[in-house]
């Protein structure tokens, strides 16, 4: 089925000026209020072309926040020689080997390994490969994965450094068991979609009136799960959490997100004071690197009924492995663009299954919803087979720039039907938002000078 030799890899720096103007100050001033002030939601955007006659291209992104996108672009260019002139069939035919080749380049490995800029670049490049593969097979990515033979699937994964908790044989067994009832679960997804939660109505610093209005609107739209940002000011957190809990009532779900604000002891103290509002989880209470810190926080908060959630900045499967080993999280939040694409995310889904920890993906940003829906729909159909305590983040933002935007119905992600990984952006949007020479940025930068 797979065909063509990679004849071209291009990468562009695409930025949306979400930090500027009313648009930005509304949604984004609060999106990463504690650590990521004034982000310009951005992407390193990769396009793969082949010499096949079908003319199909593979599109891949990794999400960034503005500055630094050019650094990721530079890293993508450093990886490009590994792809150029390669047969797509050879790449996906030994995908484990190719993944290892990209992540273990003898010289580039030093500036990672498998973390930060080079790993984000790896994600962008491999996301494009998966998009192209799925397109050539004429299937949406989730369906490509669901239909794939379990032996073939595990051959895409690099088990290096995780065999102490998950061997290839164990991974195969999980997938083999996941075949039972698969058809029914696929039908369930097609009919009802995958449950989502919204992060759009409880940013820091909102007035009571704004909170009430947004919350009412979300309830009307059928949302039943809400996330609120905390960590800047305890009294303000108490005010907003009380208001929201009163609005949504005791039955609906409330989550809290601290965006890495606290040190370990502070996280425990602060959350003890917010326990009365019955949050399901506290997200990113501290450094994403602090496995033992998350374990300490979990140990203190689980008895209060609060789980710990983290993952959007966990840089590879080795960190997730340890978070699971250390009982450091109760909800695992994969990210489609920080881990090494589908390959590494699959290994994390399988480890989560082994430890019986629900996966609740990180999304939002630009494109993250489009990508990660494929992974979590596959997870339900072929791995976890459960929706208990599971949901996928949703932010209603920047979808209009994608050729195949997400479809949300009754607060659920409806499975994409178009072939590919939903990664392709509208060429017009890309052109306009290229940094620094796209039309949008030329105007903005000229205005800054004047």
């Amino acid at each position: 089925m797979v065909r063509g030799r990679i004849s071209r890899l291009s990468v562009r720096d695409v930025r949306f000026p979400t930090s500027l103007g009313g648009h930005g100050s509304d949604a984004m001033g609060g999106a990463f209020p504690l650590q990521h002030t004034d982000p310009d939601y951005s992407a390193a955007y990769v396009v793969l072309e082949t010499d096949a006659e079908d003319g199909l291209k593979g599109y891949g992104i990794t999400f960034t926040l503005g500055k630094g996108t050019e650094v990721v672009v530079c890293a993508v260019n450093a990886l490009a020689p590994h792809l150029l002139n390669k047969d797509l069939g050879d790449i996906v035919g030994d995908f484990r080997g190719f993944y290892r080749q990209l992540t273990s380049d003898g010289q580039l490995r030093w500036i990672g390994p498998e973390k930060g800029v080079v790993h984000l670049a790896t994600a962008a490049v491999l996301n494009a490969v998966w998009d192209l593969w799925a397109k050539q097979e004429g299937k949406p990515l989730w369906k490509l994965l669901v239909d794939m033979d379990p032996r073939k699937l595990v051959s895409c994964l690099d088990f290096r450094y995780i065999t102490d908790v998950l061997t290839e044989e164990e991974a195969y067994e999980i997938l083999r068991k996941g075949q039972v009832g698969k058809k029914e679960r696929e039908e369930q997804m097609l009919a009802h979609g995958y449950p989502a939660y919204t992060t759009s109505c409880a940013w820091l610093g909102y007035s009571d009136a704004t909170l009430k209005q947004l919350c009412s609107k979300a309830l009307e739209d059928g949302w039943t799960r809400f996330k609120v940002k905390v960590g800047a000011d305890l009294q303000d957190d108490i005010r907003r959490c009380r208001l929201i809990r009163n609005m949504i009532g005791p039955e609906k779900t409330l989550m809290m997100d601290a965006n890495q604000r606290w040190d370990v002891p502070e996280a425990v103290e602060w959350m003890a004071k917010l326990a009365e509002f019955k949050p399901l989880w506290i997200e990113e209470p501290t450094s994403p690197d602090d496995i033992l810190g998350h374990a300490t926080i979990s140990k203190a908060l689980v008895p209060l009924g609060i789980g710990v959630a983290t993952g959007e900045q966990c840089h590879n499967r080795v960190i997730f492995k340890q978070l699971l080993q250390a009982k450091a999280l109760q909800f695992l939040q994969i990210d489609s663009c920080r881990l090494g694409s589908v390959n590494e995310n699959l290994s994390v889904l399988l480890m989560a299954k082994k430890f019986d920890i629900p996966v609740c993906p990180h999304a939002g940003g630009v494109g993250l919803c489009e990508l990660v829906q494929h992974l979590i729909i596959f997870d339900f159909i072929s791995v976890s087979a459960s929706l208990k305590d599971r949901m996928c983040e949703y932010v209603d933002h920047l979808h209009e720039h994608f050729k195949y935007p997400v479809i949300i119905k009754k607060a659920s992600y409806m499975p994409p039907k178009d072939a590919g990984y939903s990664t392709e952006m509208k060429e017009e949007s890309v052109k306009k938002h290229q940094y620094p020479d796209g039309e949008v940025w030329e105007k903005l930068l000229a205005a800054q000078v004047n």
Copy 2:
């Protein structure tokens, strides 16, 4: 004392073609034989200029392996706006704040945080700041640190995410206690230097004859501590370890280095088979991210008399904190260019002291010996006050490109006497080795084309 406003930051991509020709295949083919084949020892080389009349410049490097240096250079340029037009006095006057500013840039933080490319870039930039500061004070860096008031020293450190094991007050107490006997220890260093070990004579794949010859030479030169690379082939490891142990006798020290070759169970099994050669430590047995894995390996090997050493690829203080908490290492190997310069290294030295774990720095590469000697000499004089189980790596390589190269006497690092951080390279060397347009590379690249 401190003066001037940063008027210019330049950064260059400097590469030494150590992968090519006899030179490279000798020393380097074995330097990172398992993960880092054919490295070109390289650096992102930063120069800071000020508007002060003294004309002093600050030089900073971070070490790289060739490809990817351009990515680090790109990241340095992304950080540059944080330095330009800043008063040096304001930077070092609130060095903790400045460190936080660099590492928590609202947009750049996403592509780290504090790891990989951006953190290597942070190291290069801050190494230049420390070099400039020490030069303005007219002292070698180690002496600047030794003479600095403990309160001032701790004000340079960012305790974020480590307060659960080291508070500012505890750090101050350690430094205050370190004042006792400081003068004597400084004299001891000036007279005898800091003990080193050599990694120059037991690369993988050497024949018996070569091993014997190099080992004899090192013994003649007064070396008493030897490191051998292992992990590719067990029978070959046994052969080389037996030969070296026979050559050096039972009293001298032998260390082993696996360069992240193994998964956790494999590391334990393999090292059990090398235990008879009495290695002091096994270095980098597995992924540098695997804190719990290192703990498991330590638990299995310490009863066999083998310690675990790691650190050259540990990306920040949060990882080191956990390695200490988990009893995952018995020897801690800081790196002057991977952590966030002197600032972050100091916090790791202080945590190591608290946990009573000896620090044995990583060096070699290009410039790493020049820089890290300052840190470990300071550690002895002001923090650890002990040489027990302590030594600093040494590789006899590329020192000729530095203006103030290391001086080794009787297998010890003699404290540098020139002002600064020993980071300055000879301008002629830099020009020649700039990539891709320096003379050396123009010739090599032309030869590749032909």
